[in-house]
């Protein structure tokens, strides 16, 4: 059981890494894009880059402590 947990922890760390919010945002961005394309019939090529940039910015700012420090 302990080995199984360690195996799972290794792959979680390998794929998801230090900030799980990045992975969640990527999944949300892809799901939103797919919904807009297939249900809304909008060629939403712009949505995923916006999600990606926003997720990266928020993740990095969290490390600085911003905006609490201001």
């Amino acid at each position: 059981m302990r080995r199984l947990r360690a195996f799972g922890a290794f792959w979680y760390d390998f794929v998801v890494g230090d900030d799980w919010r990045l992975a969640v945002t990527v999944v949300a961005g892809l799901a939103g894009t797919a919904l807009l394309v297939h249900i809304g019939h909008v060629n939403a090529w712009w949505l995923l880059p916006v999600f990606v940039l926003a997720a990266l910015t928020v993740s990095l700012l969290a490390v600085t402590g911003w905006p609490r420090r201001r």
Binding site: D13, W45, L56, V63, T64
Partner: protein, 256 residues
């Protein structure tokens, strides 16, 4: 054009990881002897080859749109990790990767460890450290080789990019017989982070059903915009960095 970018991305990612693996292998080999160290390197090489051989054909059998969605998502999550760490390093929130310091630490640990024989391995410490070092550094490269290669339906080209990078780093390591501390590792990691994030965005969106304006040319624009955003984030983060005397940055876990 996609093939050239694929080969370049795999080459750079592989070169960076190979430099890190070389540091560990050199430290253990020069301190404790080469036989068990080489056995560890060989065993890790076989494990990595098996990983690529098993996963490569399995991924190429998946329908292209599904593959691009899954692989795009994985590459994007993976690439964002690289890019986040690279930006934290470039802005001073995380220590720069220093091969000389890592080499000195590995030498100290290798000198202190006890020698134990297991099976045909006469020094278990050398074997396990070399095996783990090469396997863990190589796993990221194997993942990139498989995902990039499968998505482009060109796994052999990705393998060639990886093999050329490992060969170049190994040859340089043999020539200088010390860690390749002068390789601009932190800059390369930044570039690889940008490439992985860009490819992940491009393929992930394609897999979700998007048609990029300008088709393949959009990839170059995505790479340029990702790079510009990353540089802007480094600049912003540097401004937000507190003076060392007033506040220490929050600790960030070391990896990759």
């Amino acid at each position: 054009m996609r093939d050239a970018l694929l080969a370049l991305s795999v080459f750079l990612a592989c070169a960076v990881e190979a430099v890190e693996a070389l540091t560990i292998v050199l430290a253990v080999g020069t301190t404790r002897g080469w036989r068990s160290t080489w056995l560890g390197v060989g065993a890790a090489g076989v494990a990595l080859a098996a990983f690529v051989a098993a996963l490569g054909p399995a991924l190429t059998a998946i329908p292209l749109d599904s593959l691009r969605l899954v692989v795009g998502a994985l590459l994007l999550v993976f690439g964002l990790q690289w890019l986040r760490k690279a930006i934290l390093r470039a802005s001073g929130f995380k220590a720069l990767h220093d091969e000389d310091a890592i080499y000195a630490r590995e030498i100290a640990e290798a000198s202190a460890a006890a020698r134990a024989e297991r099976g045909f391995v006469d020094d278990w410490y050398s074997f396990t450290i070399a095996f783990k070092g090469v396997l863990l550094e190589g796993l990221e490269v194997a993942f990139i080789v498989v995902t990039f290669g499968a998505n482009q339906h060109n796994v052999p080209l990705a393998i060639v990019g990886a093999v050329v990078a490992v060969g170049a780093v190994a040859a340089a390591g043999v020539a200088v017989h010390r860690p390749l501390a002068r390789v601009p590792e932190n800059t390369l990691k930044f570039v690889v982070g940008v490439m992985l994030t860009s490819f992940g965005t491009f393929w992930g969106a394609e897999g979700a059903g998007v048609s990029w304006p300008g088709d393949d040319a959009a990839l170059v624009v995505v790479i340029a915009l990702t790079a510009a955003a990353a540089v802007a984030l480094v600049t912003t983060m540097r401004r937000l960095r507190p003076a060392p005397a007033t506040r220490e940055p929050e600790p960030v876990a070391e990896a990759a």
